[in-house]
């Protein structure tokens, strides 16, 4: 058997130590924080983020890590939920569900060193290696001693820095995890916390006269939350991830309809390509969109907690056309209908249903899940120090909510243009091969930022 094409690289990441970082001020002991219904529904999943910074200055090894550790301690003063621990307690009306007890235990921090520079690393790394930059531990048999957040700071010996953050989805969604890093960066750079987090329960419905009516969002949740067994076509095929940069999807698609966003175009594109890769001739693959509803619920972006919903895309007409561009246009329109149609009442209906009926976490089966994080860029750059430039952000969501394939749409850090997007695509290897060769995808001239490595004997 021929040995794999994958080069056997010796471990480029070397672990230095693991410790716990606590806040600088003691917390008010014994406070219990409850989770919202959105939090409970995301329980079995976890998120991993990697932030890459390149630098022009040479530094003493360990110097920036020490500085980050100290500023993290100051940041944690505002995050008592992050430094607390999970307990299952009944208090009054709530049955036995997870809560956070703020006991001041802190977050785990891992320090590591990597060889080479950030650019070299990014050019040659795949998903397994990238995940070495983010430390994660599954729940310990005693949940009270299990840290819900993990931070890893990896210094590259020839310059650059990678910050890895992983957390359980029960506490946070990718939006507030990214806001956590932003707050940390602001504090490190300016000693000022510009966007402190807000912790509160979801606001109740504004007008109580609305009757609970069945809507598509709700039906999707009703179906998905009762999925207990993993669906049969989650294959033994290995899931691989690639990162693609789309410089200007709007222009390529020729869309001139108002209000279409790059996320909608890219989701549509991937849906079409994945459908063909799956071998579906006249139908499109099942797809769910993960959308942030903070604005809808009139919540500030710094609301800390889960606030993203999964909405399945419904195809109103059967597929008849062979023209792929027309097909793309149709899918994008359907996606746009979903995003446009999501309104306050729909989401509140879901919230109410979840509060009264549901105890199960959501699972997206074998759907293609598209997560919209394209609005996470900010005019103000996210820097820890003056000369550290954010060069790339990677995001992974793992667990039953990841479905049978995932596309996470992130803003691009390179100066390609305001419409450029980075998409992290996770698919079974067989489908990935076909999707990357698809000429429709290639017509958008994507730049391959991270490859997956093929196994020859597959």
């Amino acid at each position: 058997m021929l040995l794999k094409e994958k080069t056997i690289m010796e471990d480029r990441v070397r672990l230095i130590c693991k410790r716990t970082v606590v806040s600088t001020k003691p917390v008010e002991q014994g406070r219990l924080y409850r989770f919202s219904v959105f939090d409970h529904v995301m329980e079995p999943n976890h998120i991993r983020l990697v932030y890459y910074y390149r630098t022009s200055k040479t530094r003493e090894p360990g110097e920036i890590t020490k500085k980050l550790r100290e500023s993290l301690a100051y940041t944690l003063n505002c995050y008592p939920i992050v430094t607390g621990r999970l307990v299952k307690e009944t208090d009054g009306t709530e049955e036995n569900r997870w809560k956070v007890k703020s006991n001041d235990a802190g977050v785990r921090m891992v320090e590591a060193r990597a060889t080479g520079t950030v650019e070299e690393w990014r050019r040659s790394v795949n998903r397994e290696e990238e995940l070495k930059l983010v430390h994660w531990e599954d729940m310990y048999h005693l949940p009270y001693y299990w840290s819900t957040f993990y931070v890893q700071v990896t210094e590259f010996e020839s310059g650059g820095l990678a910050i890895g953050l992983s957390c359980t989805h029960l506490l946070a969604d990718p939006v507030c995890a990214m806001m956590f890093i932003r707050t940390w960066a602001d504090l490190t750079l300016t000693r000022n916390m510009m966007t402190p987090p807000l912790f509160h329960s979801l606001p109740p419905r504004r007008f109580t006269s609305h009757k609970l009516s069945n809507n598509q969002l709700l039906s999707h949740y009703i179906r998905s939350c009762s999925l207990t067994a993993p669906p049969s076509n989650v294959t033994e095929d290995r899931m691989v991830t690639t990162t693609l940069l789309f410089p200007d999807p709007m222009v390529q698609a020729g869309e001139n309809e108002q209000g279409i966003s790059p996320f909608e175009i890219l989701s549509g594109l991937l849906c079409v390509c994945v459908s063909r890769a799956k071998g579906k001739r006249n139908e499109l693959t099942d797809m769910s969109l993960c959308l942030d509803v903070r604005k809808l619920l009139r919540l500030d972006q710094s609301y800390f907690g889960n606030c993203m919903v999964y909405h399945k895309v419904h195809y109103s007409k059967p597929v008849t056309t062979k023209d792929r561009l027309l097909l793309l246009s149709y899918v994008v329109k359907e996606i746009h209908n979903v995003t446009k149609g999501l309104d306050y009442d729909t989401v509140m209906d879901l919230v109410e249903w979840l509060s009264s009926n549901n105890n199960n976490p959501i699972s997206n089966g074998s759907d293609l899940v598209c997560i919209n994080l394209e609005n996470m860029a900010n005019s103000r750059p996210m820097m820890f120090e003056e000369d550290l430039m954010l060069s790339h952000v990677s995001c992974y969501v793992e667990g039953p909510v990841a479905g049978g394939g995932q596309a996470i749409v992130l803003p691009s850090q390179l100066s390609e243009g305001p419409m450029s997007r980075v998409v992290m695509v996770t698919l079974p290897q067989r489908e990935m091969v076909k999707v990357l060769e698809d000429e429709l995808l290639q017509s958008f001239s994507p730049v391959l930022l991270m490859e997956y490595t093929k196994l020859l004997n597959q």
Partner: protein, 497 residues
Amino acid sequence: MPREQMPEFSSSVKLKYVKLGFQYLVDHFLSLLLIPIMAIIAIELLRMGPEEILNVWKSLHFDLVYLLCSCFFVIFISSVYFISKPRTVYLVDYCCYKPPVSCRVPFATFMEHSRLILNDKPKSVEFQMRILERSGLGEETCLPPAIHYIPPTPTMDEARSEAQMVIFTAMDDLFKKTDLMPKDIDILIVNCSLFSPTPSLSAMVINKYKLRSNIKSFNLSGMGCSAGLISVDLARDLLQVHPNSNAIIVSTEIITPNYYKGNERAMLLPNCLFRMGSAAILMSNHRSDRWRAKYKLSHLVRTHRGADDKSYYCVYEQEDKDGNIGINLSKDLMAIAGEALKANITTIGPLVLPASEQLLFLLSLIGRKIFNPKWKPYIPDFKLAFEHFCIHAGGRAVIDELQKNLQLSGEHVEASRMTLHRFGNTSSSSLWYELSYIESKGRMRRGDRVWQIAFGSGFKCNSAVWKCNRTIKTPKDGPWSDCIDRYPVFIPEVVKL
């Protein structure tokens, strides 16, 4: 019943006044005796009249030789007096190390690390939790960075870097506060009980600050938590021999190498209680320092109970059955501490107690020996001798025991309890954190007397008595500067973890 309470109340008030009167009489006995004598002489003089006084004067036959001899005699006596008087030793100033907030260890973190590291020994973890709940420590005590790792890495390098961090920071602060040049240090004493590398910590200090080559340096190790006062005693003796000298004392305990990795219960206690800390003290015998010095050393009494086997073995460093080295604390530690204290008090009592208390103690002693052995022994009231008490913050039990034995009020032991809460047991430097607490509260006035009591392995009980030289303004910096307003706090008997 108010009627029954009235007689008791009035009788206790009467007793109080009687006691006060007795104290006043005995304490000022000599001056009270002087008044009638002066009155008698004055009356005699008035009665005699001017001519008789002149006659008495002429009859004394003053001639030159007699006059000169008596002058020389007076000069001789006064010279002998001044030469044989011991030099006054001043404590010019001191600085305590304030650990950085990033080294803070809340209870939850400590217990979590314990649980993760001692995964297969849940009983030991339970035991540590119970100790921590009743320890009297707060959530802001600090451990050195090496102990924060999972698992801890108590290497020699880490121990040295902790030593450098705590000692150099305290010394830099001291130099800034006292405007002392490193080259002016004549005597250097460093005491650290459990970490003793080669070259010694005192050599490390000399190397860092480029001290003089003819410096008298000493490194005391293995002497336990009372080593701080032993260093003061050594400095005092050296300052008697060397005129016009400065002495720097560094008292610290390096926690890194002493993290006990086993699961013997009696040896897990130090892990829970000992925390990072250090103090740097400047002492001198320069006459010019008498204006700026904070304290004068009045007495220093050392008591060693090592001759008794039980006392010797009560704090014993040994290997447990798995080969881990730790410090074994015996169960009768409190009883032994009480005995050591009694021995120390017996020596220091006559030096500091006012005459009234000593008389009462003597009378009760005579009474017990001769008349009736069943009389309760009279415990002298040390509150009359001292305004402030600094009891080594070895643990809550130690402070409780001493408070009971010496009949001290809550305010007297407040400095000790609050130091234990904020900084933990920092071993030999805890006395200096307590003194800093009293100063930060603005309670230290000129003329106040402070009693520092330290206990240590061996078993030793050492006492130092300081007299405040000038009223000390509330310091703007120092280890208590950011939190003194929150103190005193109420420390519950058991903190539920």
